[in-house]
Point group: C2
Chain length 216, copies 2
């Protein structure tokens, strides 16, 4: 198993957590999003992933794209440590939490969007920061509300019950981003509590950007 990754990519971070939680060995192939005008845009990487986005997962020659599709695939093909609960409504809840982050929060705050705001729209640093804070706050508030709604029936030590799921694989990288931009987590006590619990676990800690071979 090979993971094309960038240490600070949220989507790659999700997959690193899932691989670690499941105890799957993998090799990291760094793709630097800021060097060479963005190594993900070079022909060599486009041949791997034509979307030109990180991460990509190589499972014995089969190339997978999209972090959440990878998590589902890993769960189907390596089910020993499941990332989804056993019941359909529980799975829907976990996926909804993961998607609330992956579809509603993260896409508005990632690197290519921030570059467009600065380079194409000519936004000031202040306006860019305000954009970031706005969409991060919207996203975290939505996740907190979903967690509160399922509290205590669904929410436990983790987003869903007392073992990690796909939702936690998404929540931890999103909070990492929030912390980088000094977002106050006080309005999101469940998010903060679950993040703190996960951060202390070896599988999550080993996936942290600062622990990657390409970390700066």
């Amino acid at each position: 198993m090979k993971l094309y990754t960038y240490f600070r990519s949220s989507a790659a971070y999700r997959v690193r957590i899932a691989l670690n939680v499941k105890g799957i060995d993998y090799d990291s192939i760094p793709v630097h999003l800021l060097q060479d005008g963005g190594q993900q845009l070079l022909p060599a990487y486009r041949a791997v992933n034509p979307s030109a986005l990180v991460p990509a997962l190589d499972d014995d020659g089969a190339i997978l794209t999209q972090s959440l599709a990878m998590l589902e695939y890993l769960d189907e093909t390596r089910p020993a440590v499941p990332l989804l609960p056993g019941d359909a409504l529980g799975r829907a809840r976990v996926r909804a939490l993961a998607l609330a982050i992956a579809c509603d929060a993260h896409p508005l705050t990632n690197l290519r969007v921030l570059k467009y705001l600065k380079n194409t729209l000519g936004l000031s640093d202040e306006a860019k920061q305000e954009w970031y804070r706005h969409w991060m706050a919207e996203g975290l508030a939505a996740v907190e509300a979903l967690l509160a709604q399922g509290d205590p029936a669904g929410t436990g030590l983790f987003c869903h019950g007392d073992s990690p799921t796909m939702a936690d694989c998404c929540l931890v990288p999103q909070v990492f981003n929030a912390q980088r931009f000094a977002i106050d987590l006080a309005p999101y006590p469940r998010v903060a509590r679950i993040h703190a619990h996960c951060a202390g676990l070896p599988a999550f800690a080993a996936a942290h950007p600062s622990r990657q071979p390409d970390a700066e």
Copy 2:
């Protein structure tokens, strides 16, 4: 089954297609995103879906959020007409196509973002249109590249083979949006061909925004 929907919401449109393809009867409950300051923001709807986003799905009292989580749930609980292929790599491919639209393309062009560009950043209509065209083009190009990579091994009459999947449930609403903004589909021949094929099918046609009870 009840679907909280808005006729022009891409995410609701995806779920309407899935329900129709599977032949599941449902009642539409319109939530108007532009009336009353956005009916999705009112306490009555937040009690249903605390994310304040459309759609929400009510299956006998159980409330589901996030369109892709609904598609997975419908496929698990009503498997007679599957929306995912039988093999793990095929499922990963279909999910990657769906997520390329739902995570990478659509979030940047939806109503709440366009409102922020106009109301908060004070962007001109021209700059707003350019934003829309830019991210729509990025998204459609990524989907076209994924389809081309799987052509002919994966891509068929539909995004994956010759029966509809979750990928088609996402592709058709995205193309509907592109057409509303007069985006030229010529650079995306596979996207255009699959859209045209789907559009002619009753299950897809009945889910079209113009055919909804709240259509304007």
